[in-house]
């Protein structure tokens, strides 16, 4: 018996092989770059926060309820900043989750093609508005309006910026949730309609559960966006670290503290300067926890048609 002969057409194409390798390498490089940047950020945060924690114990940092690094009597309790962050985020979600979800349902299940093609770009325009503008909007318009209803409201409070932040987030939720609802196969919709369901019943009882994983992902992104939002709260919430969850009081969030210090004239390398890295690290841990939570919920609701 003779040796099996591999015909020329079946043997490996050298040129194609090289090309494939090259593309693979290029993709690897870009992925590695993203990982590198993230690690660099974490490295800077941690290395600058270490001297801070040599001065302030982690216990004090996590339990003290006063944050006054710039006063003569210094306190380094992160809780007031966390309470400010959580309260404004919560108010924002209270606005954005219902509004965003309803908008998504409307756009995906009710709006005609023409309406959808008009409304979506307008919504997405809202994403492009600089957050400084939203901040002044909260301070000059929303808070005064709220004061008409609730006269005791101070000029700087968490309610106004929280609401405005919510409005800012609506397009994120609406757009992402709508995408995932529209990805639900038509067969599912036809099945529901064929049972005699109305549009509303179909969208709420069938389409929403079918798209839930994408909708939850939209919520998680919205939370991260709210937790990280800086300018709106810096402008309209008062930059007063205040351990309270009461939305009518003024407060500072982690990010608004960081920006106020970064813009101020604190000396480089001082403890006050280092405190912003400790605050930043806290923010990073919070977002990380949120992302893990989001990942887990998404897995739980894994899409299956």
């Amino acid at each position: 018996m003779s040796e099996p002969i591999i015909s020329a057409r079946l043997s490996k194409d050298f040129q194609r092989n090289i090309m494939e390798r090259f593309i693979e390498f290029a993709l690897l490089c870009s992925a590695a770059f993203a990982v590198f940047i993230t690690s660099a950020i974490v490295y800077v945060l941690v290395s600058e926060a270490i001297p801070f924690f040599q001065h302030v114990s982690i216990y004090e940092f996590l339990t003290d309820t006063v944050w006054t690094p710039n006063y003569s009597i210094k306190h380094y309790g992160i809780l007031p900043l966390i309470s400010g962050t959580l309260t404004t985020t919560f108010i924002a979600l209270l606005v954005a989750v219902p509004l965003g979800t309803i908008t998504a349902i409307y756009l995906s299940e009710f709006a005609s093609h023409k309406v959808r093609e008009t409304v979506k770009p307008i919504l997405e325009l809202l994403v492009g508005v600089p957050t400084v503008v939203f901040g002044y909007f909260a301070l000059m318009l929303v808070t005064p309006l709220l004061q008409k209803i609730y006269p005791d409201l101070t000029t700087f409070n968490m309610l106004g910026p929280g609401i405005v932040m919510g409005v800012m987030i609506v397009p994120y939720i609406a757009s992402l949730a709508e995408d995932s609802m529209r990805a639900v196969p038509m067969a599912m919709r036809e099945g529901a309609y064929a049972m005699g369901a109305t549009r509303f019943q179909t969208s709420v009882r069938v389409i929403t559960p079918a798209a839930i994983s994408g909708i939850v992902a939209a919520y998680i992104l919205a939370i991260s966006r709210a937790v990280g939002e800086t300018m709106i709260v810096a402008i309209a919430a008062g930059q007063q670290p205040n351990f309270t969850f009461n939305p009518v009081e003024s407060a500072a969030t982690i990010t608004s503290y960081i920006v106020s210090v970064a813009l101020g004239d604190l000396e480089h390398g001082g403890i006050g300067y280092q405190s912003i890295f400790a605050a930043g690290l806290t923010l990073l841990v919070m977002t990380l926890l949120l992302n893990i939570l989001g990942h887990m919920t998404r897995k739980k609701f894994a899409e299956r048609y």
Binding site: P185, M188, A192, A194, M195, G196, R205, V206, I212, Y305
Partner: protein, 263 residues
């Protein structure tokens, strides 16, 4: 009340009269179709791909209304109401409450087995747990699925096999006690055993309701249906007793199609 009967003294449950149908792009998919659906009988629609079988079937529960621009002309009369269900004044939701549909590909909802079957009842405002329990059990038994799922009613419907999912969809459609059931190639995605299950099921179901089924499988049409309609290019070529169609069709085209000389 009007009841129409044919030569065998069978009651007409619904009937299309001069039905034309146009898709939004202007395609005329149905041309002057006149076809009765008899009570407690299975009527099968056969014909080559693209001849308009699905289009015709989906007219019976106004599925085409879901897409803008589609247009019906002519009538589909539902008895004993003697009403044209294509009339603009008729609510498609009411029509779908009485005429249910099973699709080619099983399309269960992202819910539990129980909730899938209960869906149609809930849509109709039924929330009484006892009544739901009873009706879901009855429908699952009707679709011969009860024994396989009775211990895991709360499982997600996607965990069932393809054949089980299709029977679940039949149970879902049955739960609301429809008068007519429409099947669009219900077994084309299933293996031979699941197919036999569903065929037997349909023969059982027709005791309670009327069935209109689209099938590509000639043997299937011959096995289960009482009447067969052969369509070609949007037209109804011939409609008769299944026996007659398969043994002695009156049109040459029908014979060619059935004997495989065509298509």
């Amino acid at each position: 009340m009007v009841t129409e009967k044919n030569k065998h003294n069978e009651i007409v449950k619904a009937e299309s009269k001069n039905l034309n149908f146009f898709y939004a792009d202007g395609t005329q998919a149905l041309k002057k179709i006149n076809l009765p659906v008899y009570e407690n009988k299975i009527t099968a629609l056969i014909g080559p791909s693209g001849c308009g079988k699905s289009t015709f079937l989906r007219s019976f529960n106004r599925m085409h209304d879901l897409y803008p621009g589609n247009k019906y002309e002519g009538e589909i009369i539902l008895y004993p109401d003697n009403t044209n269900i294509l009339d603009k004044k008729v609510d498609p939701i009411e029509v779908r409450m009485r005429i249910s549909m099973v699709f080619q590909k099983p399309n269960p909802f992202p819910k539990s087995i129980f909730e899938n079957v209960a869906y149609g009842l809930r849509v109709r405002g039924e929330n009484n747990k006892r009544i739901l329990d009873d009706k879901v059990e009855e429908a699952l038994k009707g679709a011969s699925l009860w024994n396989e799922v009775k211990d895991r009613l709360q499982d997600l419907a996607f965990n069932l096999s393809g054949g089980q999912q299709q029977r679940l969809c039949i149970a879902r459609a049955l739960a609301t006690e429809p008068e007519i059931m429409l099947f669009d190639e219900p077994t084309s995605a299933l293996d031979p055993i699941a197919t036999v299950n569903i065929e037997e099921l349909m023969s059982e179901l027709k005791k309670k309701l009327s069935i209109l089924i689209v099938t590509h499988n000639m043997q299937q049409a011959a096995r289960i249906s009482d009447y067969t309609a052969y369509m070609y290019l949007g037209e109804l070529v011939e409609h008769d007793d299944t026996n007659k169609i398969f043994t002695n069709p009156s049109k040459k085209e029908t014979e060619d199609y059935i004997t495989g000389k065509f298509g």
